[in-house]
Every structure is written in structure tokens, then in C-alpha cells.
């Protein structure tokens, strides 16, 4: 276990310990360490005793990461967004492309989940909740039957 931080370090206005940066960003210290391991952030420097010390901009960065994750971005995508944010030659259309790509993925997943939910509704509707022996279970029988047909692809729109 590392020794207590010297008071002059605790009082530093510019650099924050992992605990303090985590408190300010409302995340756990483990989360900060995890993000660091994932190359999403880095300490400004280490103290002589080996403590990681973070700049005050790390709090903003942590908020950014959390917010992006709330929007469904994976850590790899968050890394891409952070890179775009820092790159001098990138512009907002680059960021927008990442967001559009993510939206398409999410909408596609929603479709898949809706189809699954519909299929489950169909299975549940087959069973009236009666106490039947397993071999008479209509849900298991339906799952045993041939694979469901996929819906036909939508026709192309007229130009």
C-alpha cells in the first residue's frame, strides 16, 4: 500500500489525484483506471511516490466519455471521437458521419430486437398456460418445427 499523499500534493490546484478526479466526474476510481488502460485518458504526470496525477481537463474528458457511452458509442468509437476532437484537420462532418453510422447500427439492432420480440409473442400466444406435459408443450413444438420464413425484402423506392 502506498503512503498517504503529502499535504502539498493534496492542495495542488492544477493536478488531481485519481480519487479526486473520479469524485468530480461522478465515477469510481476504478473507472478512471479502466479508461486509462483503454487509452481514453492519461495522467499529466506521476508524483515522486508514483501516484498518477491528472490535469483538470480530465474531468471534462470523463464527462465526454460517459455522455458518449450513454449515446451508445463503444469505447473504440469514443476513442475515435476523442481523436477527431483533437485533430486539427477534422471537422464536424467527420463527427457527424460517426454519429450517422452509429444511428444506423442502433436502428438495425432495434429492428432485430423487434423481430425477436414478435417471434416470442407468437410463441407465447401458442400456449394457453395450461399444465401440459413437456412433450405436449406448444412452444417447444413450434421451436422444433421448420425455421420461420424471413420477411421478403422491401421493394426499391421509385426514383
Amino acid at each position: 500500500m502506498k503512503p498517504e499523499l503529502p499535504p502539498e500534493l493534496e492542495a495542488s490546484a492544477d493536478l488531481l489525484t485519481v480519487g479526486k478526479v473520479a469524485r468530480l466526474a461522478a465515477v469510481s476510481a476504478d473507472t478512471v483506471r479502466f479508461y486509462e488502460k483503454e487509452d481514453l485518458l492519461a495522467p499529466a504526470r506521476k508524483s515522486a511516490a508514483g501516484y498518477r496525477l491528472y490535469g483538470s481537463d480530465t474531468v471534462r474528458r470523463l464527462h465526454f466519455i460517459k455522455h458518449a457511452q450513454d449515446c451508445g458509442f463503444s469505447l473504440a468509437e469514443v476513442r475515435e471521437l476523442l481523436t477527431l476532437r483533437a485533430a486539427e484537420d477534422s471537422c464536424c462532418t467527420d463527427v457527424r458521419s460517426v454519429a450517422v453510422h452509429k444511428k444506423l447500427l442502433i436502428e438495425s439492432k432495434i429492428r432485430t430486437l423487434q423481430a425477436m420480440s414478435q417471434a416470442l409473442s407468437g410463441l407465447i400466444a401458442r400456449c394457453d398456460g395450461g399444465q401440459l406435459p413437456l412433450e405436449a408443450c406448444p412452444i417447444l413444438a413450434a421451436l422444433d418445427a421448420s425455421a420461420p420464413r424471413r420477411p421478403a425484402p422491401r421493394k426499391a423506392k421509385a426514383p
Binding site: T93, R96, S97, V100, H101, K103, L104, L105, E107, S108, R111, P153, R154, K155, A156, K157, P159
Partner: protein, 86 residues
């Protein structure tokens, strides 16, 4: 008539460049028409076809190129589907 649909977002520089090159291919072929689809306006349709990463190309309602092909690759595909050079 073969319908080529180019899925993109209007403000995407990469899309615009590719769009123009591919439109030139279509313009040089008979019996092919081209429609530009703004993904943000027709998101449901794009998702129906399985577009995940714009720009992408569908031919006759089928996502044939999930990522943009070169001009020659598109020309070959359209010729195979019955398009003729003008």
C-alpha cells in the same frame, strides 16, 4: 430499367466525391437510372436494406455494395444486369 440508389449524407465530403464519380458511370449507360438517397431523410429505408456504413449502393432495392465500389466495379455489375453502354 435498372435503379441505382446511392445512400449518403449530403454534407459528407467523401460521399460527394464518390457520388459524382459513380453518377458519371450511370450517365454513360443505357437503361439505368440513379437516385440519391439522403440517409437522414430515409433512415427507415436505409435500415430496411441493411445500410450500415454510408456511402453505400443498392441496385433494384438490394444492397449490392455496402461500401462504395470503384467506378469500373459498378459498371461491370450494371452490365451484368443488362445495362448497355450509350
Amino acid at each position: 430499367m435498372i435503379l441505382v440508389e446511392i445512400f449518403s449524407t449530403p454534407d459528407c465530403g467523401k460521399c460527394a466525391q464518390a457520388r459524382e464519380a459513380l453518377k458519371a458511370v450511370v450517365a454513360g449507360l443505357e437503361a439505368v437510372i440513379c437516385r440519391e438517397v439522403n440517409i437522414l431523410d430515409e433512415l427507415d429505408y436505409a435500415v430496411d436494406l441493411g445500410v450500415l456504413s454510408p456511402p453505400a449502393i443498392a441496385i433494384d432495392g438490394e444492397l449490392v455494395f455496402p461500401t462504395l465500389p470503384g467506378a469500373e466495379r459498378l459498371r461491370q455489375e450494371l452490365m451484368q444486369r443488362g445495362a448497355r453502354a450509350l
